[in-house]
Amino acid sequence: MPIDLVLFYVLGAVAIAASVAMIAQRNPIYSAFALIATLCALAAIYGLLGSPFIAVLQIVVYAGAIMVLFLFVLMLLSVRPEEGPSRSKSLKVAAGALVLVFAAQVTSVVTAAARGTGSATFDASTRQMALKLFSPEFTYTFLATAILILAALVGAVVLAKK
């Protein structure tokens, strides 16, 4: 078994275990740390899939900026672990059944869509990504995200203001 395949399965197991720990945890702070572990494992998987730019972006933007924002708000609001009884048993069973059906459906669709290990000449280096991102094809989309970020910035300040 080649080393990258072993790494992929190990990282996949880490991602699944950490995300299960995230939803099993009553304390949101521990949930946030488990999510950071999942995001880091996913970043490594992006690297294994030949996408170094996305891998670094995942670490910097997700594990860095977004999760720090989450932890900042959790500590600012001094959130306590969930108290009282958990969700009722019937609701849990219903949610589990719904989720299982959904899982079967998604798995059957995505596994029918792709086979093999992808093209051998795949090049997703930062240079290629930049050439694609700043090409005329994506100019307006890129500008729209700039406006979106500005709107989110203003919106967050207005909403969080006392």
Binding site: I23, S31, A114, G116, L133
Partner: protein, 100 residues
Amino acid sequence: MIPINDALVLSAILFVIGAFGVFLRRNVITVFMCVELMLNAVNLSFVAFSRSLGTLDGQILVFFVMTVAAAEAAVGLAIIMALQRHKETLDVDSFNLMKW
């Protein structure tokens, strides 16, 4: 070389765990984190399909999804802070003003 199939199955599993967390948890911030996990699962699909098809469009989409996720986290957490100030709790069951 990673089989694309396995990456897609991992993505489906992570998405489903996120969806189950939305049903299961009652703290609004944990629910929000589950939504982030679902976004990440979709990103993994995009990267795997981009690899499978040999084009960069999937990677560009991941870039835009991350931008939107960052904006969403900023606005969402601001809304959560406003909710906490208004209701003194973060339990999703207590936010039922719009419920008929």
